[in-house]
């Protein structure tokens, strides 16, 4: 019956093509993660993707629905995104739990693809962070940065670590981890040390931060790799510039204003842009089409809100991972934004949105 309705042409776009293009855009970050974190990164990525797809298949079967969506790439993408936000040392059962929760709690319980309120990977990451704060906030020393305690290119060492924990390698957690730049700065601030001194204590270099040679979760360290992916998505028109640009500009602007007034206690814009999960969230998490607004104006409002919350949580909040919380909080406001930020319809000039 539906075939009777015009139009009888289609542009050729599909959900699978869209999801695959985002996976391709994440490949540079994934490659850098393997370069820095060796087998840990690779095992985590593969494990999370497989578990996500399996969980989706099981959930759909239990709900009595067709298994076709498993092949549309959205579960695989969720797995990849989740893995990239995890610290390199994530015990296998935590990764399992996170993947299952991402698909079940973050997506299928709402009704499947297109109906979730929150970004599924982000929702799972936040649940993991709040449930296991210690594991989720310690960062394995990456390869090619200083002298790491473990050889992450040794497969059996990495497998043992993931399955049995650092005790299997006769090492304590402290010996193999270090603080991320953002985490270090926050600790120093709480001890009253000025920002510039804190950076000196850490031996921080902006170039390293840009390229990714720093501690952090496996996918978020390299701003360069993420920028490659982001620009690819923008060029393909898979995402539009409104969210990432507004998000990053808001953080940069707030950081610029406050750090020029008090440079000791407020980080400068470049530091904010390169530190933590901001780049990953701005290009890949906040831009998730299902949980972000539909209209350009709405997207600008959303990006602004994310930027404001990210900067505020990082500066004054107790939790690390400000970017993730900011996006999750803004996800709640999306239906409201969608209603009020509709464009002006042709012929209704001067009458507002209704």
């Amino acid at each position: 019956m539906i075939h009777l309705s015009s139009p009888h042409l289609h542009g050729g776009d599909s959900i699978r093509v869209t999801m695959l293009s985002v996976i391709v855009a994440l490949l540079p970050a994934a490659i850098v993660s393997v370069y820095l974190f060796g087998w840990l990164a690779l095992l985590l990525i593969v494990f999370c993707m497989v578990i996500c797809m399996l969980t989706e298949a099981v959930s759909l079967k239990m709900m009595g629905r067709s298994l076709a969506p498993v092949g549309d790439g959205s579960a695989a993408l969720t797995g990849l995104l989740l893995a990239l936000t995890l610290p390199a040392y994530t015990p296998w059962w935590m990764a399992l739990l996170g993947s299952i929760m991402a698909i079940v709690l973050g997506k299928q319980l709402y009704g499947g693809l297109g109906y979730n309120l929150f970004n599924p990977a982000l929702a799972a990451r936040v649940i993991l962070l709040v449930s296991f704060p210690l594991n989720m906030t310690v960062w394995i020393m990456p390869m090619h940065v200083g002298t790491p305690a473990i050889d992450l290119y040794d497969f059996s060492a990495c497998l043992n670590l993931l399955l049995f924990g650092p005790e299997a390698l006769n090492l304590g957690l402290d010996a193999i981890t270090m603080a991320s730049p953002l985490g270090h700065v926050k600790t120093e601030w709480s001890q009253g040390i000025a920002f510039a001194d804190a950076l000196k204590n850490y031996d921080f270099s902006y170039l390293d931060a840009f390229l990714g040679r720093e501690a952090g979760s496996i996918g978020e360290t390299s701003a360069l790799a993420l920028l490659f992916g982001g620009v690819y998505l923008l060029a393909r028109h898979t995402i539009s510039w409104h969210i990432p640009f507004t998000y990053l500009a808001t953080v940069a602007l707030l950081a610029a204003i406050f750090s020029s007034v008090d440079p000791d206690h407020f980080a400068p814009p470049l530091f904010h842009l390169l530190a933590g999960g901001l780049m990953l969230c701005a290009f890949f998490m906040a831009t998730d089409p299902v949980s972000s607004p539909v209209t350009p104006l709405g997207q600008i409002v959303f990006g602004f809100g994310c930027g404001l919350l990210t900067w505020a949580i990082r500066t004054w909040g107790g939790y690390p991972e400000g970017a993730m919380f900011a996006v999750i909080l803004m996800n709640c406001t999306v239906p409201l934004i969608d209603h009020y930020c509709r464009p002006r319809v042709y012929g209704h000039a001067g009458k507002g949105n209704s």
Partner: protein, 517 residues
């Protein structure tokens, strides 16, 4: 505001927001218009326009001539129907019309006698500028001319010279933005002078001094042809009148009236109103040529150019077809005889209707017959998946709607919400469905929503009418009762009751007094 800036900088007007760029597939652009053979049987539905149906004025067995009126219009928004050739009326019965549901309308069947004898009752008017516009308008109405761009709105209604809504500019729509269709393109190449004459007549009828011929930039030869015709000696425009040619970027739906007006003038037609309310009128080139034929040659609308194209047609081309020719006949002339596994579209692929059979006649709105193989239609007919809220539909919408929210509301029967979200501003161009990665048939949901809202409105109006009638009846009963009581009072005053002492006789008089009233 942007438009003023563009004009100041001398840049071509920026087009409308959104739109899509399908493969234009103008494979018949270089095929000269052929003339169709005379079919043995012609089928004329009594309604081929927007408005009221016509009433047949011929009976079975009557002989008719080519151009003779065979059905008269009823009501204001209506147009007569004329015989496409000479012959005999063999039956008048219901027959399917070009509608996706396969519904039918009473149709007049004419068996052609092959002689093509014309009805010459209409005067050929060469000097139209010397005639009263009202007389010309009646000629346009009498000849059954409707908007040949596909909308088939009665043209004479759009040619009213009204002091309250003066027309400054006549826009000539030579855009033809639908893929495959080339009938307007060929018309501009082959009948440029007739089109210009038609523009002249239209300008005279509405009192406009300016006309703009809008052509998409994939048709430079058509623009050259029109320019040449404008410069020729045969066209004598009055001193203060001007006809310009403007090329617009190739984008679908550039030819949509509201979007075209915005692209050319920077003005938006206010919602619920018509272009004439902002001083512009839009006419298709085919309509203007038909106006020329009606006025200058005295010929009613009995034929039009049809583009026969698509990947299932062995010999695609453009054909001048008589209105009422069965589609099967025309498709056969282009090499398509077997209709197994052929999808036939009436109109263009973006807004056309899929036909259920091939024995349906060509009508005034048939600008194209596109026959496609099933494999080519697979992409457009994929199974619908959930909406991922990507927003591409909203970006593509030329009217700035948010289609995914609207479709959701229509599907969930929240019709008043859909109306608040401007459902009725949708022009059903199909850009949203074209770009949707989930293959959601958005236009289908909008049509459903509009239909339901119209039905709800009808029921509400009927309920309101019933309520008013019921209240009027109640008021009438109360009023009659009061009138009766008032009369009784008057009678009582005239014959006041006697004093208490005069007992029964007084009472009986009172009683008889009351009885009389």
């Amino acid at each position: 505001m942007l438009h003023t800036l563009y004009k100041a900088l001398g840049i071509e007007a920026a087009s409308f927001p959104g739109g899509v760029e399908p493969d234009m597939a103008k494979i018949t652009a270089d095929s000269p218009t052929a003339t169709s053979m005379l079919a043995p049987l012609f089928i004329l539905p009594i309604k081929q326009h927007i408005g009221e149906v016509c009433e047949p004025i011929v009976a079975v067995g009557d002989e008719v001539k080519w151009g003779q009126k065979i059905a008269r219009s009823q009501g204001y928004v209506s147009l007569p129907v004329h015989a496409p050739t000479s012959g005999r009326v063999i039956k008048i019965e219901e027959h399917p019309i070009p509608h996706p549901s396969g519904m039918g309308l009473p149709s007049i069947f004419i068996e052609s006698d092959g002689d093509d004898r014309r009805d010459h009752s209409l005067e050929a008017i060469a000097d139209y500028r010397g005639r009263d516009p009202a007389e010309l308008r009646e000629r346009v109405r009498f000849c059954g001319i409707a908007g040949l761009g596909g909308a088939v709105f009665p043209t004479f209604i759009k040619l009213l010279k009204d002091k309250r809504n003066p027309i400054e500019t006549v826009i000539v729509n030579g855009i033809e933005c639908e893929p495959y269709l080339t009938c307007d393109h060929r018309l501009m190449l082959e009948k440029a002078k007739e089109i210009i004459a038609g523009i002249d007549i239209a300008m005279h009828m509405v009192g406009a001094k300016k006309a703009i011929i809008a052509i998409e930039d994939n048709k430079p030869d058509a623009a050259a042809s029109m320019r040449q015709a404008l410069a020729s000696d045969e066209i004598n425009l009055p001193e203060d009148c001007r006809i310009d040619i403007r090329m617009l970027s190739t984008l679908y739906p550039q030819g949509s009236e509201k979007q075209l007006i915005y692209a050319l003038t920077g003005k938006q037609v206010p919602a619920g109103r018509l272009p004439m309310h902002i001083g512009v009128l839009c006419h298709n080139v085919g309509t203007l040529k038909a106006i020329h034929d009606a006025v200058v040659l005295g010929r009613p609308l009995t034929d039009r150019i049809v583009t026969v194209s698509g990947d299932a047609i062995p010999r695609p081309g453009n054909m001048k077809a008589r209105i009422g020719t069965p589609m099967r006949f025309i498709l056969g002339e282009h090499g398509l005889d077997s209709f197994d596994d052929v999808h036939l579209l009436h109109g263009g692929p973006m807004m056309g209707e899929k036909m259920m059979s091939f024995d349906i006649p060509v009508v005034k709105s048939t600008n194209g017959l596109i026959a496609m193989r099933p494999e080519s239609m697979k992409l457009a007919h994929r199974i619908e998946q959930p909406c991922i809220r990507c927003g591409h539909c909203s970006t593509a919408c030329p009217v700035n709607l948010v289609p995914n929210l609207l479709a959701d509301q229509c599907r969930n029967e929240q019709f008043d919400r859909a109306e608040a979200y401007n459902l009725f501003d949708c022009i059903e161009c199909g850009c949203c469905s074209y770009v949707c990665p989930s293959h959601i048939p958005l236009v289908h949901y909008f049509r459903y929503g509009k239909g339901q809202l119209a039905q709800i409105k009808r029921e509400r109006d009927f309920a309101e009418l019933s309520r008013q009638r019921s209240e009027a009846r109640e008021a009438r009963i109360v009023r009659e009762r009061e009138e009766k009581a008032a009369k009784r009072r008057v009678v009582r005053e005239k014959h006041p009751p006697k004093a208490e002492a005069a007992t029964t006789s007084g009472e009986s008089e009172k009683a008889s007094g009351e009885g009389e009233s």
